[in-house]
């Protein structure tokens, strides 16, 4: 039996709509749940006071600082490495077994479970290089974790820049590097920013890596060599050890809304940049 094309069309539309709706629903349930449970806990004091009594009372100031510190370090290390690799792969080599090997390596790195990456960071940075449980060890290990994301998205963004632009720039007597810095990278910036933002999100939410490499000290980290507990780790410890569920949810809400805010800010910034360049 064949269905009338209009009927099958309508059925498929309804099915796809349901699937999409279901996805959205999951997202909404998570956001609502965290907001309802967590937001009542959040106040200016919660953000600006040091945690007391293992986090049962007081605020989460030290974990906010540790989170910002470690994430910024990870992004600051991973962005130049990742974008540099992407530029090399797209602009300075032709497809060969070498580029495929580099790309395959990056893919494999993306597939390494974060707990194993954490162990690697522990062995290399914490023990071998003697950085101890620290912001530095945690940031560097996170940088390794997000590197494949940045390489992949930057590569796609750079490849999407029309080849004609490169030909025109060459014909106008721009050197290869001038072409890259003045035309290719500005055009690829929105895509690169997306990759960096994804990486920020991954870094903010990571726990396994940091339990191994940054430790869980509740003091506010000052130097790169201080241990620090990020919001995600704090949430994990509060919930896992049953110290304070309200404070755990409060931390989760702050974490979730900072990710939302950072993404919106990046989006707005990008829109402004796009307007300037086109």
């Amino acid at each position: 039996m064949r269905l009338d094309p209009r009927v099958s069309q309508a059925l498929i539309k309804a099915l796809l709509w349901t699937l999409t709706g279901f996805t959205l629903l999951i997202l909404i349930v998570i956001i609502v749940n965290i907001s309802v449970e967590g937001l009542p806990r959040v106040s200016l004091g919660f953000l600006t006071q040091e945690p007391h009594d293992m986090g049962r009372s007081g605020g989460i100031f030290s974990t906010v600082v540790a989170t910002a510190y470690i994430t910024l370090l990870a992004i600051a290390v991973a962005t130049p490495l990742g974008v540099g690799t992407a530029i090399y792969l797209t602009e300075y080599t032709r497809e060969s077994w070498m580029t495929r090997l580099i790309r395959f390596g990056a893919e494999c790195l993306a597939g390494v479970p974060s707990i194993i990456l954490g162990l690697f960071g522990f062995v290399l940075f914490v023990l071998k290089l003697g950085f101890g449980w620290s912001v530095l060890s945690g940031g560097l290990t996170l940088a390794i974790m997000v590197l494949p994301i940045i390489i992949r998205t930057s590569e796609e963004a750079i490849k999407a820049v029309p080849e004609d632009y490169r030909v025109v720039c060459s014909s106008l007597g721009l050197s290869k590097w001038q072409t890259i810095t003045h035309i290719v990278l500005p055009s690829a910036l929105p895509g690169i920013t997306t990759g960096v933002m994804l990486s920020v999100g991954r870094s903010l939410g990571e726990t396994a890596v940091l339990l191994f490499t940054a430790g869980a000290a509740l003091r506010t980290p000052v130097s790169l060599f201080d241990s620090g507990r990020t919001m995600a780790v704090h949430f994990y410890i509060l919930a896992r050890e049953g110290l304070s569920m309200p404070n755990a949810y409060g931390t989760a809400a702050v974490l979730m809304f900072s990710i939302l805010f950072i993404n919106l800010a990046a989006y707005g910034l990008m829109q402004r940049l796009m307007r300037r360049f086109s």
């Binding site: 004609d164 632009y165 025109v168 720039c169 060459s170 014909s171 007597g173 721009l174 003045h182 035309i183």
Partner: protein, 252 residues
């Protein structure tokens, strides 16, 4: 012609992977002339332009033989500064590709990166736009995106962009293919004025344009030079029957 040639092409052959685009081509082009290149598709006209400013370097798996001299200096040798060469030999590609910037930025990007003092740039841009007959249409919106221009305007912008570099040689690949007859006539008029300062090579599929606008003409066929001479002679008493067939529209 007593003066030494501006460009001397000596036994130039060019291959794209398996396809031979130029075959043992030799030509001399003199300073301050407008030199026309005509021929049917795949005759090697555009390839020749790309070799002259080494844009051919960007084509993967291509190879070439022979020599090209600009002012007596071999430009195909490994010691040639390709970036400096391209500033001297400007190429306007047949497909207009404005960069995703403002009209003004399109014009001054290359001169600025070549080290021209910033205070010279606005005058440079204005002069180039006037020469390319675009000034009146865009003078009030120089800082709008170049991508918003119409096809014909983009083509003139690309010409202006090359003029703003103030090269010594200008290579034009179908500069008027998308333009109406009035703009075309204006561009041809511009070329006559530019001749005093530049050496110009004009590639066109439009034989009438070659006849109108050039001093000397070469006819290429499948990468080979069939005939070269004064334009008036090539068009009135061609020496080769194939040239005659081409300009009278019997093939091509």
């Amino acid at each position: 012609m007593e003066q030494p040639p501006k460009i001397r092409i000596d036994g130039l052959s060019f291959w794209y992977k398996d396809f031979q685009a130029l075959d043992q081509l030799s030509l001399e082009i003199y300073p301050h002339e407008i030199f026309g290149l005509m021929g049917p598709a795949k005759s090697g006209k555009s390839t020749l332009l790309k070799v002259l400013n080494r844009l051919s370097d960007l084509i993967p798996e291509a190879r070439l033989e022979g020599r090209v001299y600009v002012d007596g200096q071999d430009i195909l040798g490994p010691e040639t500064d390709v970036v400096a060469l391209r500033r001297r030999v400007g190429l306007v590609l047949s497909k207009p590709v404005p960069l995703p910037r403002s009209i003004y930025e399109n014009l001054v990007l290359a001169p600025r990166l070549a080290g021209r003092p910033p205070k010279e740039l606005p005058a440079l841009a204005e002069e180039a736009l006037k020469a390319a007959r675009l000034w009146d249409e865009v003078k009030d919106r120089l800082h709008d995106s170049a991508l918003k221009l119409s096809g014909g305007q983009q083509q003139r912008l690309c010409l202006a962009r090359t003029l703003a570099m103030q090269p010594e040689i200008i290579l034009l690949d179908e500069p008027t293919s998308g333009l109406d007859p009035i703009s075309t006539a204006k561009i041809e008029e511009t070329l006559f004025q530019l001749k005093a300062r530049y050496t110009i090579i004009l590639v066109s599929n439009n034989t009438k344009q070659i006849a109108r606008a050039t001093d000397r003409t070469a006819f290429l066929l499948m990468g080979r030079l069939i005939e070269v001479g004064e334009t008036s002679q090539v068009f009135t008493v061609p020496r080769d029957r194939r040239t005659d067939d081409y300009i009278s529209g019997r093939f091509g």
